[in-house]
Structure formats: structure tokens, C-alpha cells
């Protein structure tokens, strides 16, 4: 039932990290640094290519931060995460194309659809043990892709193209790559922040409790099933919005973009970055999506490299490359005046 964490494999550390680098990385600073870099990048190079690469990377970061909620926080291995992106992208594409709406206005529908998808996939499967869940999600991922490929409403194999841009009000045409890029960065950073905050909340803790020991969590009055479902739904929403940005970015959606490989890549970003650690995941996502562009010769067999990397990282750091460190501030003043909890006023 429960999964016993082998402590010997995990990086053992008493007291918070000391090395300057890791302290920098633990600090709030890193987030701002990355954001600043993202915002300044276009002033260095605004060629369609670099903008395209950077936008793709930003969307990838959004996906990774979404999957991190499911895999990192809640410990549910989802091998079909890209399906949520597919649902989002197709919903947005179909609606905006058939009603000539800017993509922005399709977001409510996208939210509904992705949450629905999350429920449909999650509800029956979340009672399964983790490894069954992995395969089932993979199955759902493939089903989604094949279905999109076979139906005519999704444009069949050639998919949907010529999708209208996100928004168009007078001068501001979001189809301009630079504008789209900044919009993407804005949205993505907001959602990354949101999921990071979720992780540090009552719900986020509940997710971690479930990940660490379902029985103990259950015994503390946590409805593990509901909590898992919530993780799934949040993951789905993140993925769905990723899909909308994807559609806006490519102005086309086709089934080949949602193969298992894509799910695996997002998973790698989460794992390599460090499960549950939002900063790590962001950097992992950047590495995974940018490295192939930077090192062309590496691109040729990057999947081999990623595969080996996965094994190595798991063998040496089962928590991920740069796991969420369980440290927090000690109590400032040694003794607090006992709050009025001693009496048993229940809840």
C-alpha cells in the first residue's frame, strides 16, 4: 500500500544547504533572475527563429510546472500528460476556427474541457496503485492522440491550421512573434508562481502527505482520493492552457505533436529538475527544450542521452536531480505563549 522511502539513497543533509550556489538557487532571487533573462532575451536577439525557440521553451516550462503538480507534489506518475495539452489545443483551435473567435475567448471552454478530461482520466484510475496509474495514463494519452487522428472534427491527420491569433485589438496584434512571446512569458511566469504557491499551502502539503504515505495521510483525515483528483485537475488546467498557447504559437494543431515522446520529455524536465521543486523544474524544462537547439550535434541523439540521464539520475538521486529540500525557518523566539488550543474545541 504505502511506499517506503529508502533513506540511504536520498541526499542526507542535516541543517539547510550551505554552499553559496545552492543557497542562491534556494533563494527567491533565482526566480527573478530567470524572469529577467527571459524578458531581456528579445533585446539581444529577436529573430523569428530565436523568438520561436524561446516561446516554445516558455510553453514547455508551463507544461513542466503543471506536471510537477501531479508527479512532483502528489507522486502520481502520469505518462500521458500531453493529452491535456492536446485537449486544450484542439478545443481552442476548433472553437476559434469555427466561430472566427480570437483564441483568448476560447479559454473558458478550454478550462471546462480540460477539467472534464482530468476528471474522466482521474476518477476511475486514481484508486489504482501508482504503476498501474502510469500505464493507464499512457493508454489515455495514446487514445486521445489516435482519436484526434481519426475524427473529422479534429481535422483528422492533418489537424487544424490557420487558427486565429490570441487577440487583436487595433494596434496590438498578438500574432507578432515578439508580442506573443512576452504574453507567453507573462502567463507562464504567473502560472509557475501559482503552482509554486500551491505547493506551499494546505493543499500542497496534503499532496506531499499523500505522496509520502497514503495511510498516514488518510489517518490524519485527508481524503487521499479527493486530494489526488485535485492534483490531477490542476495539472490538467496547466496543460490545457499550455495547449492554448501552443495553438496560438503554431497557428496549427496536428496529432503528431502529442505523441508519447512529448509526454516523456515533459516528465524528464520534471524529474531532471527535481520533483516537487518548482525552481528546479523550470530550469530542467529550459535545459531540455533549449539544449538541443544550442548543441545541434547533441540534437541528433538527444533522446538516447535523456534516457540514460533518467536512469542515472534515478539511480543516484531517486528524488530527482535537485529535489525540493525539506527545510524551513526555525522558530524565531524560543517560547510562544500557548495559544488557546489546549481545550478540545474540535474543529
Amino acid at each position: 500500500m504505502s511506499e517506503n522511502i529508502d533513506t540511504t539513497l536520498a541526499p542526507l543533509r542535516v541543517g539547510p544547504p550551505r554552499s553559496p550556489i545552492s543557497r542562491l538557487l534556494e533563494s527567491r532571487l533565482i526566480g527573478w533572475v530567470t524572469l529577467a533573462a527571459a524578458l531581456l532575451a528579445p533585446f539581444v536577439s529577436a529573430s523569428p527563429y530565436s523568438l520561436n525557440v524561446m516561446t516554445t521553451a516558455a510553453i514547455f516550462v508551463l507544461l513542466a510546472s503543471g506536471l510537477n503538480i501531479v508527479v512532483g507534489y502528489c507522486g502520481l506518475l502520469d505518462l500521458g500528460y500531453i493529452a491535456f495539452m492536446a485537449v486544450g489545443a484542439y478545443t481552442a483551435g476548433i472553437i476559434s476556427k469555427s466561430f472566427e473567435l480570437p483564441l483568448l475567448f476560447t479559454i473558458p471552454a478550454v478550462l471546462v474541457m480540460t477539467i472534464l478530461a482530468g476528471l474522466i482520466i482521474g476518477a476511475p484510475t486514481l484508486r489504482l496503485r501508482s504503476d498501474y496509474l502510469a500505464i493507464v495514463t499512457l493508454g489515455f494519452g495514446e487514445i486521445t492522440r489516435i482519436t484526434a487522428n481519426n475524427l473529422s472534427v479534429t481535422g483528422g491527420p492533418s489537424g487544424i491550421f490557420g487558427i486565429p491569433g490570441l487577440l487583436k485589438i487595433g494596434g496590438l496584434d498578438v500574432e507578432n512573434p515578439a508580442v506573443l512571446y512576452y504574453l507567453t512569458v507573462l502567463v507562464v511566469s504567473l502560472f509557475v508562481l501559482a503552482s509554486a504557491r500551491l505547493g506551499k499551502s494546505r493543499l500542497g502539503r496534503a499532496w506531499r502527505f499523500v505522496r509520502e504515505d497514503e495511510d498516514a495521510a488518510e489517518a490524519m483525515g485527508i481524503h487521499t482520493y479527493k486530494v489526488k483528483l485535485l492534483a490531477y485537475i490542476f495539472g490538467a488546467i496547466w496543460g490545457g492552457l499550455g495547449g492554448v498557447l501552443f495553438a496560438a504559437h503554431l497557428s496549427a494543431v496536428s496529432p503528431q505533436s502529442f505523441i508519447f515522446l512529448q509526454s516523456a520529455l515533459v516528465l524528464m524536465a520534471v524529474v531532471l529538475g527535481g520533483m516537487g521543486n518548482m525552481r528546479g523544474v523550470v530550469i530542467g524544462a529550459l535545459v531540455i527544450s533549449l539544449l538541443p537547439e544550442l548543441l545541434r550535434d547533441f540534437a541528433s541523439n538527444r533522446y538516447l542521452a535523456f534516457g540514460l540521464l533518467l536512469v542515472i539520475v534515478m539511480v543516484f538521486r531517486p528524488q530527482g536531480f535537485w529535489p525540493a529540500r525539506g527545510y524551513e525557518r526555525e522558530r524565531a523566539t524560543v517560547d510562544v505563549d500557548p495559544p488557546a488550543v489546549a481545550t478540545k474545541q474540535g474543529r
Binding site: 493507464v136 489516435i146 538516447l304 536512469v311 534515478m314
Partner: protein, 297 residues
């Protein structure tokens, strides 16, 4: 109709061969060996390499040659399986299940794209082709190669079943499946047994790979992905961790697919079999033959 059944049976025997490996490994260390399908692929490519190195083989000898190649490939894939367990799974015993699963995904990727890097990404045509007489059985066209392959598959499964039921190692496997720690206390060399399990499972998958290559005539580095999932489905249908169940599941899935694609059309076949998998996992996770065990704290 009889054709349908026969085709289902034939494909099913491939699924069964691969499902066995899944089931054995899962039964013993509760690991979902995600890379197992790629061992099948590996087997096909090793057979390919061996056959090409042998040079031109007259069709008359092709069956004999195939049998030799089959054995050698089984040995090699078996070794590969053992190696994988050593490097990627054993260090993670006792680690969170999540970690082992991800490691398995990593292995799967490494195998697929490793082969792609070595043998090139393009599909290869198999050097030998099993041709043979075809005759009608109750209105179904049955070809000699099909019968031979199914006989080989059946032989392997019977041998395995005997091994599990009668030999001491088999007994050890079953006891580990029941309770690893207890078996450890009983002085069973758990690691040795797990190694054997991986060897056998991988060897069977490798055999399936060579047979598929020789029968269908085309191999590529992703051929293991889908069939791996199908095999897992078969294992689940039969009751994962249950050897007979794996065989049964393979055949059942073969039928189910044959009928499914008859009704819904070929392009929906995978959707159909995945749906079956999901239904089984959610409604009857113990499969047809698997017995329910109460988990104790």
C-alpha cells in the same frame, strides 16, 4: 470467422510470449518493467545482425538457421535483461516506486534510441523470410510458418511452466513472489532468482522479436513500444504475476483485437485494446486468473 479466430490466436501467441516476461518480473519484484517491449525490439535487431552476418541462406535451410539464431538471440537478450536489472533496477530496490518506474522509462528510451543510433532510424527488411505451404483448416487459411512459430511459442511457454512448477528455482520464484523477506530468511538467494527471472523473461521477449522479424519481414527501432503496451494489457487481462494468466491474456487480447478491429475498423484497434486495459485495471485489476490478496499494514 474461423480466419478471424486463427489470426487472433496467432497474434495472441506473440503477445503471450512478451506478456510472460512482464508478468514474471511483476510477480516477483512488483516492478512494471516498462522497457520489456524494447527487449522484444532488441531481440529482433540482434537476430537481424546475426542473420546478415551469416550471409545468404538458401530458403531450404532458413528454418534451421532461424532456430539457431533464435537460441543465440535469446541468450543475448536474456543477458541484456540481466544487465538492465543490475544497472537500472537493483540499485533502486526499496526506493520509491516512482523512481523505479521512471528509471524503467529511461531504460526504454535508451534501448530505442540506442538501437536507432547504431542501426539507423530506417526500418530494415529481414534477411530471411519464412515462406511455406498454405492449407485450409475449417475455412481458415493456415500457413506453415504460422504453425511453426506457434509451436515454438507453445513449446517455450510449456517449458517455462514446467520450470516454474517443478524446479527448485521455480519454487524459489513463487516463494519470493509471496513474501520476499520471508524467502530471504529461508536462505533463498533472492538476487540470484531475480536475475534468472529477468533472464528468462527477456529471452522469451527476444525470441518473440526474432520470430516477428522473420514472419513479418520488417523491423524498426520503435516496434517494441506498442506491442509492449499490448503485452502488458495481456498480462493484466490474465492476472498480472500469474504465468498461466499471461498466456491466457495474450490469446484473449488477440481475439478481442481481431474482433474489435472487425467492428470498429483497423484505425481504432489500439484505442480498443487500451480501453480494454483501462476497464480491466479499474474494474478487475486482478485479471481473470489473478486472486485477490488483502494488503496488510
Amino acid at each position: 470467422m474461423t480466419q478471424l479466430i486463427w489470426d487472433g490466436l496467432f497474434v495472441g501467441s506473440f503477445y503471450a510470449l512478451i506478456a510472460l516476461g512482464y508478468s514474471m518480473v511483476y510477480g516477483i519484484i512488483k516492478l512494471l518493467n516498462f522497457a520489456h517491449g524494447d527487449i522484444y525490439m532488441l531481440g529482433a535487431f540482434i537476430g537481424f545482425a546475426l542473420l546478415t552476418s551469416m550471409g545468404g541462406i538458401p530458403a531450404s535451410l532458413s528454418l534451421g538457421a532461424l532456430l539457431i539464431v533464435l537460441l543465440v538471440s535469446m541468450l543475448i537478450t536474456g543477458g541484456a535483461g540481466v544487465l538492465i536489472e543490475r544497472l537500472a533496477y537493483r540499485p533502486l530496490r526499496g526506493a520509491p516506486r516512482l523512481a523505479v518506474l521512471i528509471s524503467a522509462v529511461g531504460v526504454s528510451f535508451s534501448l530505442e534510441y540506442g538501437i536507432a543510433a547504431i542501426a539507423g532510424p530506417n526500418p530494415r527488411a529481414y534477411p530471411i523470410r519464412l515462406e511455406g505451404g498454405v492449407f485450409e483448416v475449417l475455412g481458415a487459411r493456415v500457413s506453415l510458418p504460422q504453425i511453426v512459430l506457434m509451436l515454438i511459442a507453445a513449446g517455450l511457454m510449456v517449458a517455462l511452466n514446467f520450470y516454474i512448477q517443478k524446479t527448485s528455482t521455480g519454487r524459489a520464484m513463487r516463494s519470493i513472489a509471496l513474501d520476499t523477506n520471508a524467502s530471504l530468511l529461508m536462505g533463498i538467494n533472492v538476487n540470484a532468482v531475480i536475475t534468472r527471472t529477468f533472464f528468462i523473461g527477456s529471452a522469451l521477449a527476444g525470441a518473440a522479436g526474432v520470430m516477428a522479424g522473420a514472419y513479418y519481414g520488417k523491423i524498426d527501432f520503435l516496434m517494441g513500444f506498442i506491442i509492449g503496451l499490448k503485452a502488458f494489457t495481456a498480462a493484466v487481462i490474465g492476472g498480472i504475476g500469474n504465468i498461466k494468466g499471461a498466456m491466457l491474456g495474450g490469446l484473449v487480447l488477440g481475439f478481442v483485437e481481431a474482433f474489435g478491429s472487425e467492428w470498429f475498423g483497423g484505425q481504432w484497434r489500439d484505442v480498443f485494446s487500451f480501453a480494454v486495459l483501462i476497464l480491466f485495471l479499474t474494474l478487475r485489476p486482478t485479471g481473470i486468473l489473478g486472486e485477490r490478496v488483502t494488503e496488510r499494514m
